[in-house]
Symmetry: C2
Subunit: 182 residues, 2 copies
């Protein structure tokens, strides 16, 4: 067996939810040692860094029930099971902000919590924006705001923005040269 | 009721695990609409950006069972329930790399998946390193590597590094002026 590999000996389904499923597996490490892995299976999500102009970013504000706080984040949403992320990005962006974008670029992916969860986030850059109609999903109360890029960096630095996917997407856009990092 | 608030009507415990618990809550939105929130309760984690010198970062390689892949990340670990993150950072850093650090700075926090999970990550900068002894936890097969900072940016950009907490910690360290962003 390869050194960095864990073999599934037994997999037990614990919970089948609307957003995620949970399983509990008995696994064998490459040393022969046995252990348990608890896993959250999540369909994955999309995150949209939308530039209204080269210095203006759209953020959305919403209540995040697991954390019991109001959070300022990039527009984002989860995939419907087996959905194409490109389509999900367009749908979620329009639902959450009311804008459509004519120009889309991929910014790569990230794993939000690889220790216990398989959630994969797909990052997008959206440009050439046009306002259409704000129509959030049922069960979503969400407002969008426009922020200067410099202000967004300040809010990340001060801890007003603590959402990991938002910070990652901005870093990826900076490394790809779409925005200027400080 | 405030606009951005969701009131818990009923909370049901679904799963009590070793790493996380799951609950399923009936909630009421500020519009009066009722919905269900599935929540993963996680004790939180620590992430350590260790600089061996101003251009050299320590990364660890390990198998991530939920994703079925080998991942290159900053040293990190979860909190024991109600553990002080400062102590957890020191413990996890030493366990995963064999190094101790004399100089510690806080880099802020991030929420890994605020839509369904309360995991909070605490980021640290570790400097003045001294090698002691590599002794990973039971059930952890982990190796550490030293990388040039420029190479780390390249690996984030190319998708060789896709771990959200690693990307966030590096961004936070850059915004605070501890490392130079490209």
């Amino acid at each position: 067996m390869q050194k960095f590999y864990e073999k599934t000996l037994k997999s037990s389904h614990i919970f089948k939810g609307i957003v995620f499923d949970v399983k509990k597996d008995d696994v064998e490490l490459s040393t022969g040692e046995k252990t348990i892995r608890e896993v959250v299976n999540h369909p994955g999500g999309v995150v949209i860094l939308a530039l209204k102009d080269e210095n203006t970013i759209l953020l959305v504000k919403q209540y995040r029930y697991p954390l019991k706080l109001v959070s300022l984040e990039l527009p984002a949403g989860k995939l419907d099971r087996v959905e194409n992320p490109d389509l999900a990005a367009k749908r979620e962006f329009e639902e959450e902000t009311g804008f459509v974008a004519k120009k889309w670029d991929k910014l790569g992916i990230a794993y939000s919590s690889p220790g216990f969860c398989d959630e994969t986030l797909h990052f997008y850059l959206a440009r050439d924006l046009e306002y259409k109609k704000h129509s959030p999903d049922d069960g979503e109360i969400i407002e969008y705001f426009e922020y200067n890029l410099g202000k967004v960096f300040d809010m990340i630095n001060s801890g007003e923005i603590n959402d990991a996917k938002t910070i990652c997407a901005i870093m990826r856009a900076g490394l790809k040269g779409f925005i200027k990092l400080p």
